[in-house]
């Protein structure tokens, strides 16, 4: 079962997203801000991270920067209501998912990374 870390500060979004992913067969760990997400990610080394952008303590991009700096090289999906072209440069994430997202868009993207991981690629 693919281990996935969800980093999201909005409890309702977090709950709904985690439920959708768990029902699709993923093992989901939840963090409620960027600091907690960084700590769990480095500790548990999940195969995939889905993270919000604007969060307390550390933003999604700050967390990604530190993760990449610490050698975490697995895929990261960034979710945000900000248009992708308005995001700062040097992103460090592998895919962008616009908020608010539906379960179909979320699962399609996560599935694509799962297939890639199972095929042995990043």
């Amino acid at each position: 079962m693919l281990r996935l870390l969800l980093v999201e500060d909005e409890p309702d979004v977090s709950l709904v997203t985690a439920t959708v992913l768990e029902e699709a067969g993923y093992h989901v760990t939840v963090a409620s801000d960027g600091c907690e997400g960084l700590e769990i990610a480095l500790q548990e080394m999940p195969e995939l991270i889905v993270t919000d952008f604007m969060m307390p303590c550390l933003s999604g991009l700050e967390m990604i920067e530190r993760l990449r700096g610490a050698g975490y090289d697995r895929p990261i999906i960034l979710t945000t209501a900000i248009a992708e072209q308005q995001l700062p440069r040097q992103p460090g994430y592998d895919a962008y998912l616009a908020k608010p997202y539906g379960s179909h868009a979320l699962l399609t993207l996560v599935e694509a990374f799962r297939e890639r991981l199972e095929a042995g690629g990043h």
Binding site: D9, E10, P11, D12, V13, S14, S32, F53, M54, M55, P56, C57, S59, L61, T80, A81, I82, A83, Q86, L87, P88, K99, P100
Partner: protein, 468 residues
């Protein structure tokens, strides 16, 4: 002197004497849908445009992403401000897990992390519902302290209708209330600054409009009169566009005055107003606000009586504004007319149809004060204004002029009357009042032909032997 941050809303800056005070805390209260979120976002983006940094924290369970996707459709939204100068965060989870102490710690940390100079806390009632009154009071006090140390403006949004004695209202520096009100079948929005320490506010309720561009606030026209400079005493006269009438008026209307043309329907009020406007030129630009006839209709009407509005319209010295007589915000009209007149240095203004203005007012008793405010503001910029006002009676008994509070508010009053003698419909003109001047008090019969208003009976009536 404490620095002020613009609210991003011109009218609200007027109400608050310049905006929010740096390092101060404000409550914006109002029912759901009253515009609190839009107002707060508009403030944040205006603040960012001026070089500040803003943090918008929501305590609502509703996703801030949903709010952001809505706000991003508004005209004031500035995507490039995200996520550096403008940040959205949820405090709901922390409040759920750690209560008010955790939330306070989060606010403190995030204010510092983002170096925010403005912060919005949306859904303050959620925090209040999680604590006793005493704990909530301590939280507000601490929150003010945190914002004060950060030298940031703190704006708290709540939909709770708590009275003025509740702790948050007594502790904060400012309290603004947004309302959704109804009068008969009409719905309208208002804003009221209930408290603003250290600032001379414009008290009372003022109208609000919400569009895709955001919130617009229109201070009650009569409430800004104190800020209107006194008009200079103009000695010269302004020609009315009719030589005969100018002779009755000892040379024309006093420049920088307000004139009321009153009379029943069909008495020639608009036609006389068009005479006045037809003299618009580069030295005396003109502006007309009409409600019942479209600009195309007005141009046609002028042509039919030999008045040339086409030339000043084409060379830009005359502007025709038309608004259907619906539920207009009168204070917005006044603001718009004065701004347009100021921008083009207008000297001749015609407002055709005071009835439409009266009908747009939610509180009709405001009418004389609104007209006085409009006249004073126009006079202050050197413009003369002519109003037309319809009198319900078909024939006015001149011995008993209708009691109209407007006539007391204007400088000059001209009565256009109608009557029937024999089988002919006739029109009469009298000067009733002329500011500080003598005038010809006689009533003159007139008619309207292809050259406009002409004194004397209609030749067709004379030819039929009805003259007299």
């Amino acid at each position: 002197m404490i620095e002020k941050f613009s609210t991003g809303i011109e009218g609200l800056d007027q109400l608050t004497d310049g905006g929010f005070l740096r390092g101060s805390a404000y409550i914006i209260q109002g029912p759901p849908g009253a515009g609190k979120t839009i107002l707060a976002n508009q403030f944040c983006y205006a603040h960012v445009r001026e070089g500040g940094r803003a943090l918008y924290m929501t305590l609502l369970a509703e996703s801030s992403s949903r709010m952001l996707s809505y706000v991003s459709q508004m005209g004031f939204f500035e995507g490039s401000a995200l996520p550096d100068a403008m940040q959205y965060l949820s405090g709901y989870g922390v409040l759920e897990r750690e209560g008010l102490p955790g939330l306070l710690k989060l606010v403190q940390h995030e204010l510092k992390r983002h170096r925010a100079t403005a912060m919005v806390l949306d859904g303050t009632f959620v925090a209040q519902s999680r604590a006793s009154e005493q704990e909530f009071r301590a939280f507000i006090h601490a929150l003010q302290g945190v914002a004060g140390i950060a030298d940031a403006v703190l704006v708290m949004l709540t939909h709770q209708n708590r009275d003025s004695s509740c702790p948050e209202h007594t502790m904060v520096d400012g309290w603004i209330e947004l309302s959704d009100e109804t009068h008969g079948f009409r719905a309208y929005r208002t804003i009221q600054v209930r408290k603003h320490r250290g600032a001379a506010i414009l008290p009372g309720k003022h109208r609000v409009r919400i569009t895709q561009e955001g919130i617009a606030v229109f201070p009650r026209a009569e409430s800004v009169l104190d800020a209107t400079p006194a008009a200079r005493a103009e000695a010269h006269r302004l020609a009315t566009g009719h030589e005969g009438l100018d002779a009755l008026l000892q040379g024309g209307l006093p420049a920088g005055s307000a004139t009321l043309l009153m009379g029943p329907t069909g008495s020639g009020k608009t036609t006389l107003g068009l005479h006045f406007l037809s003299l618009a030129n580069a030295q005396e630009p003109g502006l007309m606000l009409g409600f019942y006839e479209t600009p195309a209709h007005i141009r046609q009407k002028a042509r039919s009586v030999g008045l040339d509005l086409d030339t000043p319209l084409e060379d830009g010295t005359l502007e025709l504004l038309w608004l259907p007589p619906a539920e207009n915000i009168v204070d917005e009209l006044v603001h718009d007319i004065v701004n347009r007149a100021r921008a083009r240095k207008v000297k001749r203004v015609l407002v055709d149809g005071l009835v439409a203005i009266r009908d747009s007012l939610v509180i009709a008793d405001r009418m004389p004060y609104v007209i006085n405010a409009l006249s004073m503001q126009l006079k202050a910029i050197g413009a003369s204004v002519v109003y037309t006002s319809e009198i319900p009676e078909l024939q006015v008994d001149e011995a008993r002029l209708p009691s109209d509070e407007i006539s007391a508010m204007v400088d000059n009053v001209l009565l256009l009357n109608t009557g029937r003698r024999g089988h002919a419909f006739r029109r009469y003109l009298s000067v009733v009042k002329l500011r500080d001047s003598d005038f010809d008090p006689r009533t003159h019969e007139f008619h309207v032909d292809s050259r406009g208003i002409a004194f004397g009976p209609d030749p067709r009536v004379a030819a039929s032997g009805e003259a007299g």
